[in-house]
Amino acid sequence: MKRAMLSMAILVAGTVTATAAEIAPNDVVFNDGAVETPLTDKPGDPAAGRKVVGTKSLGNCVACHQVSEMSDVPFHGEIGPSLDGAGDRYTEAELRAIIADAKKVFPDTVMPSFYKTGPYIRPGKAFTGKAPDGPLPPLLSAQQIEDVVAYLKTLKE
């Protein structure tokens, strides 16, 4: 219901593309470390999610996490736990919450909040060191979050 109203509001504002209704970053509902409602209407694509996880300019999750299945991508970090078996340890809704805003699940974690628009201390324009031109979009789009969740669900022990 809430989503329907939201997408209507967005449609009226004329900012949404034809493909999917989205929940905006500030409207995501976290409940006990879980986000039950998918952020888009379009089901997540594990292959696209895998790319987000392994690509520096996208999620760059491997900067901090090791993933055995991703041995084609060089240099995995060790700041966070290995993501092997993440699909067993967490439900889909929990994974969605961790990716959207890990600080809601692990207070004070170093893991970035990927579906959030601020407030930030000294936000910058990507890795330029310069001030941004306007409000910053979240690090990942709603669809990319769903794709990453779909990929993590495939990581079983």
């Binding site: 520096k56 760059n60 491997v62 900067a63 901090c64 090791q66 055995s68 041995s71 060089p74 240099f75 995995h76 970090g77 060790e78 700041i79 966070g80 736990p81 290995s82 092997d84 170093v110 970035p112 909040s113 930030y120 201390i121 000294r122 936000p123 910058g124 324009k125 990507a126 890795f127 330029t128 060191g129 310069k130 001030a131 941004p132 910053l136 690090l139």
Partner: protein, 290 residues
């Protein structure tokens, strides 16, 4: 060293087989407390030290050298191999070169560069002539502008950083001993605040990487404690000497933040704070890093 809880052990074990193929020697694979840094076969550096109480959450201090590969470590242990020394030689020439309206060189007032012994170990500090907290770069430009009548050097420029390396070398082996007295306490507090501020869109503080996760890999890089006792640092990556503020700028940029400017009050205060985090380690610059 400090061991963290969580699943790290398992992850690290998996990592060992997965990505350590590059054959680098890393802190995790050896006890850092038994690793010695002896320069030119005779100068013994203190690369592990106890922190000064009340400065940080660190329970041991480690020189950034310990976190680098065996090959990179070797370069720093021999002045003939250390590429940073080429710049020191250039600075020796500049030291003796007369410049500016007053017809003076550094040597005219200071004599031999060895007169700079102890400077690097105690800076940043309150400068009587500038009347404020000063870095070595600020003192160098103070001399150039006000005592030599010469153009100031760019804060992170090649000449400035080379001169800093020459000055640093005079203190090599001395313990870092940067003081926090009433005159600079507010600067120090400000620097500390900046150190723990989670900046940029990635919301990462210096402490997130260098206090909570040193000894761990972030992508291909092994995080050190981000100590500055080894600066200026010759980086194999960019083939030049790098100054403290240039490094700070790079790290802040990597949090997807709007950086502070080298030479800004923010970075001067941050340098003071970070320097005190390393009190007790030897001055080891100019260092070699990847």
């Amino acid at each position: 060293m400090k061991k963290r809880v969580t699943l790290k052990g398992a992850a690290a074990a998996a990592m060992a087989t997965a990505v350590f193929a590059a054959g680098t020697s890393v802190l995790a694979e050896q006890d850092p407390t038994v690793k010695e840094m002896v320069v030119n076969g005779e100068e013994v550096m203190t690369v592990v030290a106890d922190p000064q109480p009340g400065v940080s959450e660190l329970d041991k201090l480690y020189d950034g050298w310990l976190f680098r590969s065996e090959e990179t470590q070797a370069l720093q242990m021999d002045d003939f191999e250390n590429p940073g020394m080429i710049f020191v030689e250039q600075a020796e020439e500049m030291w003796n070169t007369v410049e500016g309206s007053e017809g003076k060189s550094c040597a005219s007032c200071h004599g031999d560069p060895s007169s700079m012994k102890g400077v690097r170990a105690t800076y940043p500090k309150m400068s009587p002539s500038l009347g404020k907290l000063a870095t070595i770069e600020m003192e160098v430009n103070n001399c150039r502008e006000n005592r030599m009548g010469a153009e100031p050097w760019k804060y992170t420029g090649g000449k400035m950083t080379a001169m800093n390396a020459l000055i640093t070398l005079q203190s090599r082996g001395m313990p870092v001993d940067v003081k926090v007295d009433d005159a600079v306490r507010a600067n120090w507090e400000h620097g500390k605040e900046l150190y723990y501020a989670r900046t940029g869109q990635l919301e990462l503080s210096c402490a997130n990487c260098h206090e909570q996760h040193y000894g761990e890999r972030i992508r291909a890089d092994m995080l050190s404690q981000g100590q500055i006792n080894g600066f200026p640092a010759y980086r194999l990556k960019n083939g030049k000497l790098n100054s403290v503020h240039a490094r700070f700028k790079g790290c802040v940029r990597d949090t997807r933040a709007e950086t502070y400017k080298p030479g800004s009050q923010a970075f001067i205060d941050l340098e003071l704070y970070v320097a005190t985090r390393g009190n007790g380690l030897s001055v080891t610059g100019p260092s070699v890093r990847n």
